[in-house]
Subunit: 239 residues, 2 copies
Amino acid sequence: MSALTRDANPPLTRSVEDYLKVIYHLSSQGGFATTSDIAAMLEVAPPSVSGMVKRLSDTGLIEHVPYRGVQLTAQGRREALRMIRRHRILELFLTQQLGYDWDGVHAEAERLEHAVSDGLIDRMASALGQPQYDPHGDPIPTAAGEIEETELVPLADAPVGAKLELRQVGTQDAARLRYLAEQGLTPGVLLVVSARQPFNGPTAIALVPSGDPRTVGRDLAQLLWCREVPVEGHGRPAA
Amino acid sequence: MSALTRDANPPLTRSVEDYLKVIYHLSSQGGFATTSDIAAMLEVAPPSVSGMVKRLSDTGLIEHVPYRGVQLTAQGRREALRMIRRHRILELFLTQQLGYDWDGVHAEAERLEHAVSDGLIDRMASALGQPQYDPHGDPIPTAAGEIEETELVPLADAPVGAKLELRQVGTQDAARLRYLAEQGLTPGVLLVVSARQPFNGPTAIALVPSGDPRTVGRDLAQLLWCREVPVEGHGRPAA
DNA sequence: TTAGTTTATTAGTGTACACTAACTCCGCTT
DNA sequence: AAGCGGAGTTAGTGTACACTAATAAACTAA
């Protein structure tokens, strides 16, 4: 045995943790995460992804269907959620206790999430009163690995007055994507639904925080999947 | 140019940061840090150190005298102090704000020091009121890279009543080292000077926290270099 | 001074990950 | 059905670091 008995559960590397996280995000709405989407999100070349995908499926963290994409296994999902818990608790801690603002936190948390121990995360969570939502309103997975599923609604169906975060754009059509980007409607933006015309009419919104108004036709609004953002801080969402 | 114009100041890697830190500690009392001492402190094999030493002196962070040892250049010292500042502020923050105790902090800080940004360290320092000493009483380098030199005194010269930390043993003699280790007198232990006999007599001490008494003869006491430990917490040392 | 021991260095490997260049598969058009 | 463009994969490299085995320099003790 000796050298043959390879370490059964080697700790995950930084890279592996990053890959699992983005695969989680990309495949959370059901489907497969594709090589090029992963490559784009991690800012690496597609062949690097192919290589890592091989390693990850060898270690049983993901399931790979060649030329189609990847999905997390139960184990991979567990690890991904552990990272997301770390990230979100860190973001909350940094904003609450150290005066970070929304923009600055992300990058800092991105680096720290790989270095903090689970024990430190738990202490931070205690210091914050076992919070359930991060500063962006996203749910924080529990230490046991459970997460409140955020259900997304098409902008077309969101109630007037709701504050939303645009999460997914349900099309691959380049013309549509380009148009939406021009309008500032890319995943991550916050907006408020200001009005909706009757009889399948367009939806009027205001971007947050700029306040810029936009009007989105029915068909496009159907493609814009949003998450309702709780308004009263981070303690608990708007039921 | 293009590919020839290599990144002038690539960020230091984790490993490099670790090497610089231990080289700083090993050479702080004047001399050279030897390959095997570095290897022992980092728990790597000596050839790994030789390899890294090559890289570090190529990048101008250390000065290498083959078969003798290494010393930090001004730039290397700057980086080492930056790491030590991070480490000590982290240790203080974790103990003060998150209830860590003396033993637990070190490992956590050891990992975090590579991941935190300078900005976060500054915020922590502010939150702690710009502290000058870490929980062990060691001085924290300033952001500008200055550190209060801790001067060491031989146990033989320390005033009765002083609380000391044993820092260096000024001999390589195996018999002496073994004897001192048997007595529990190894670098890092805390002790209080309880009495000293006149006419170059022995020094009586009590170990902290056990309280075990020891008596150390003049010659040995001359070899035990100690740092005076401030007693009132961490704000300011016993002038 | 020589022999033996310790310490340092070189040589050669392995692993994790990135990259570019070249090739292959898939799905869409015509 | 043929073919074409784009996404995916394979092949081959490079860098950072670790390791073991073999060699060389320096110290020490007879």
